[in-house]
Subunit: 238 residues, 2 copies
């Protein structure tokens, strides 16, 4: 939850190759964000990533209303993305957008909608899901964006599938019977604990520091993920 002060605050996903002097054109919503939300002048610095060339420092170039982003120097090398896919039956709009956002923060590589017998949402707006995934990737510090695939019928999902394992909750699996955990999960604000607070917390005897991975999770994702991890390890999630 801490930002590196030397790194540009604004991170943008682009599709162009990144190399010294390479230019990238922001998508419409990115241009709006740069100009009307962040109000970045020409010369301001941003960070760029494209899923394969790592993260690059870049400057904003303006020519009238047009914006270009000029890569200057590398910030971080590309890292491997966990090869984890999420296959999900489409649900209603706000909730499916949330799935795209949270799955991106949790590091998935592929978002695959699947149509089942009881799926009552037939149309999936792939472009909107992809836009949510891009925004979440920009915000959480990932160097890649999940691929959003077109919906597939469940019966065709495994055609030519290979050996990739698929974890799925099926009815009838007995719930784990374990002693309920006693404890508390503490989640800080979006900006993270202050340094004073973090030092103070770290010295308290009841505090158990936990890692939530290399990406920056939004506060609500951190809450859900931390509860899941504890319930899975000590509680009633098997």
């Amino acid at each position: 939850m801490t930002a590196n002060a030397q790194r540009p605050k604004v991170r943008l996903f682009v599709t162009e190759d990144l190399a010294p002097g390479a230019a990238a054109v922001p998508r419409e919503e990115q241009a709006h964000y740069l100009t009307h939300v962040m109000r970045l002048p020409a010369g301001a610095e941003v960070a760029l990533f494209n899923g394969h060339d790592g993260e690059w420092r870049a400057t904003v170039e303006r020519e009238g209303k047009r914006i270009r982003l000029r890569a200057i120097a590398p910030l971080r090398p590309q890292e491997p993305t966990p090869d984890l896919w999420l296959i999900f039956a489409p649900i209603k709009r706000a909730r499916i957008d949330l799935v795209a956002e949270k799955a991106t923060e949790l590091g998935v590589a592929v978002l695959q909608p699947v149509l089942t017998e009881r799926t009552d949402v037939e149309r999936v707006n792939i472009d909107r899901l992809a836009a949510h995934a891009i925004e979440a990737a920009e915000q959480c510090g990932r160097l890649s964006v999940p691929e959003v695939r077109p919906p597939v019928a469940l019966g065709k999902l495994f055609d030519g599938w290979g050996e990739r394992r698929v974890w799925v909750a099926l009815p009838g699996a007995p719930p784990a019977v374990q002693a309920p955990p006693a404890g508390a999960v503490l989640i800080g604000p979006e900006g993270g604990f202050s340094e004073t607070e973090a030092r103070w917390l770290g010295a308290l005897p009841q505090i158990v520091p936990v890692g939530l991975g290399p990406r920056i999770l939004r506060a609500e994702t951190a809450a859900i993920a931390a509860l899941t991890m504890l319930q899975a390890r000590y509680g009633d999630l098997s």
Copy 2:
């Protein structure tokens, strides 16, 4: 994700004691739901729970515009709630509501807002959070509702705390370095897979059945929880 056909579909949290013949008055939003959403006539059956007497079958009684719910017979005995608390800095409205909903589905006993130096949301609508927690408890099959406590300053949080452990993500904890997982998580629709689909899936060699605990998770919660569990066990969440 399967409902027991013999059980009433509508579950309501009430504050009255439950025993044979006991009457409970639905809260305003519950009465609206019964009358205008579900359109349940007098004599229809619902399930009631209050956090300590288990779950009860009850009938709807109508007298003009007034509704009463009359407990008939027990459906399930009370179960212990995991003694897990979530302490969280307030965030913006839609996201804090989500935290209350998801934490309830994941089984927490207490929701405790905490004010930190960088918390920029000062007012917390406890009643709205409690209403979300009740609705989530009704929907997910819990027999209890999390207690929503008034906000407390971080510096006072541990006054008289005792030995309860507190898990917290602090800056500087090194991320786990593990081989990225290769696999997929498959999440069905809100209504669950059909029996045919579940049988078919269960027989496929690549399928790994997993349990997601005794409560009914909404599809997006199931997706987030399953990804977290896998990333924690095999991936880059430590």
